[in-house]
Amino acid sequence: MFSRRRPSFANRPIAACSAMAVVCCSVWWAAPLQAAQPVVKGPESVADWDRAGQGFIEAGKRLSPNAARAKNVILFVGDGMGISTVTAARILEGQLAGRPGEENRLSFENMPYVALSKTYSWDQQTSDSAPTMTAMATGHKAREGMLSVDHLTPRGECSASVNRDHALKTILEYAAESGKSTGIVTTARLTHATPAALYAHIAFRDWEADSNLPELSNGEPCRGAEGSVKDIARQLIEVSPAVRLSLKVALGGGRMNFMPASRDGVDGVDDEYPKGKGRRADGRDLIAEWLTTRGAGAAYVWNRQQFEALDTARTTHLLGLFEPSHMQYEADRAKDGAGEPSLSEMTAKSLQLLQKDRKGYFLHVEAGRIDHAHHAGNAKRALIETIEFARAVRYAMDHTDPKDTLIIVTADHSHTFTIAGYPSRGNDILGLVREVPATDGAPLAPSKDANGLPFTTLGYANGPGHRGAGRPDLTRVDTAGLDFLQEAAVPLGSETHGGEDVAIYARGPRAHLVRGSMEQNWIFHVMRDAFGF
């Protein structure tokens, strides 16, 4: 019926080098033994190290802070993109291009300003995405699971008035009120925590559709009750007049939260999955409401063909909902029946729409599924998501002017993802650890643990990759396979977030304010200062 592809029982022998590392094997590790040359060699000459270092110093000397106001701000968030994820993705991207990989730089690693972001929330040492994005969106650290309401908000608060009293204005709302255009792009559901923190104010991130609200919360009627807080999907449609006018682009997944479960006795049937039904118990079709409340230039798309055919010159307000829930992983996107755009394609389309506004814009772009793949203990999918995220940033860097556009790239939190052992230069980042041989000319061989078993470079501190009965023998396992789950030390059904700092990269006006060790909520203050609000 079905089976779990257990790496320890897989029967797929692999070559000593994976396909990715074949180039490395043939170029850098082909030295004959008798020459006693290092088996592992980087491509650099001795002079290259000094030359590159001097180049860095010269570039630094030419760097001057741009104190101008920002016309535009773009906030990129890699959900769960801790520093180890950036490092591993950088290496994988380089290896996919046939290089050793370590010397590669993801697009945003070329930005001039970098800082560390402390991601704890008001009540969490290791945070979830709700308070971390709230911090970046509003300038305030908040409570676990809460979106853009202050930390005095009671847990499970369902009262609309109480949520409203504790609401914190977001950078998107500031931008809207100043007359700028705004946009949100994500590969997760549009109602998921990270994008939702920009437009929704609610005590619980999971209240994405009205059917998700509990009948009772804190002993009080909630779902469907008069005076109860609006669910997140409804908040996206019923935003303030300023945001309604301003929010020109909203692209992502989560279609079901906008569709009625049934209407006039007829099930709300999904266009892409006919057996799928909407999640709205109130019978409202929020997609139709987007079209009727956003004017004649409003458009809605749900597949790649519609997305590509969109006339950006005539479209004023675009809603794209490409999956019932989250969009496909980038690694699986080509298999999607209806087809859906990549994150970089959505970023490009959004910029084409937003750049029509001469007053400027605020755009948020989230790679939402780095986090999901890590939770599943599946490093390759997480890294492919990260590489696509870097591609989206590259598009933005190439199509905006650093004189007037502040771009910030960061993560909301990290994961327990590790890069470990002493793998040699150019070693397949998804492969088994193979150290530099102790003797020049000696062949590369997998490093062994205390029990004589090889191990991978990548792993997790916890998660579903834990093997219950001792470590598996990975000698003949394709650890670079898409579905391979890296080993985890602590058995958990889902891998967890990590609590260490994440990086912030920036370029453009006021980017120099991104510096040193920062509280995560200070990112909001940098953006607001750049805008001049």
Partner: protein, 224 residues
């Protein structure tokens, strides 16, 4: 810690997965052509856990727990109602297979997209799903070649718990009083299995993760 009854429910819940996991060929040497086509049908099974069993499955006679499951097979849907939970497998026009776990106690449906199943390393064989994922490798399998379903078989779970399946009845069209999968969950909340990592506090997530662990899909579930 889980109670004895919870462990027993776990054993029952695990059976269908275990059956599916080992049914790599049509049982009893019956070829697909001989076995006929997988016509749409609904079938009732009695599922009994036998006390005093051992790993050989040859002793125990006393039924300590008994349930009735309803198996439902259509062109693009295969579903099992196990009483407290249901599994609804669906295949779309592109051949992608997804799963919905229905958790009645939590009034929740957990959606596993094709991509999420792949991320968990799950390979699904639709033809085996259509045949109840029954009982190759187990003793005493009786195969109904007309229905393309096992009529009777037993399985040993965790080397000690004997579970016996008996086909009670099948119908091309299920009577209204049969508890067909998917018919009680229209108003339930939905969760995406991709969100489990952010929802460890949710009781439905804990149950679903436990079922995943029993199925061998995850190594361990959160136990707060």
């Amino acid at each position: 810690m889980r109670s004895a009854s919870e462990r027993l429910r776990g054993a029952i819940a695990a059976v269908a997965f275990a059956c599916g996991g080992v049914l790599a060929q049509t049982p009893m040497g019956v070829t697909e052509a001989e076995a006929g086509t997988d016509a749409p049908l609904a079938a009732r099974y009695r599922v009994a856990v036998i006390a005093g069993s051992n790993a050989s499955g040859s002793t125990g006679t006393s039924v300590v727990r008994q349930q009735e499951w309803v198996f439902w097979r259509q062109a693009d849907t295969v579903a099992i109602n196990k009483g407290g939970t249901e599994e609804i497998w669906q295949r779309d026009a592109h051949g992608r297979i997804s799963l919905q776990r229905v958790l009645h106690a939590q009034r929740t449906v957990v959606d596993y997209s094709a991509g999420e199943l792949a991320t968990l390393g799950i390979e699904v064989d639709w033809s085996e799903l259509c045949r109840f994922g029954s009982a190759a490798g187990t003793a005493g399998v009786e195969w109904d070649s007309q229905l393309n379903l096992p009529a009777r078989f037993t399985q040993v779970i965790n080397g000690r718990t004997l579970v016996r399946f008996d086909l009670l009845e099948s119908r091309a069209g299920a009577p209204a009083n049969w508890n067909l999968p998917g018919h009680r969950s229209a108003g339930y909340a939905h969760l995406d299995a991709a969100d489990f990592g952010d929802m460890a506090y949710d009781p439905a997530v804990k149950v679903a993760e436990s079922l995943d662990v029993q199925a061998g899909w995850r190594q361990a579930a959160h136990r707060h």
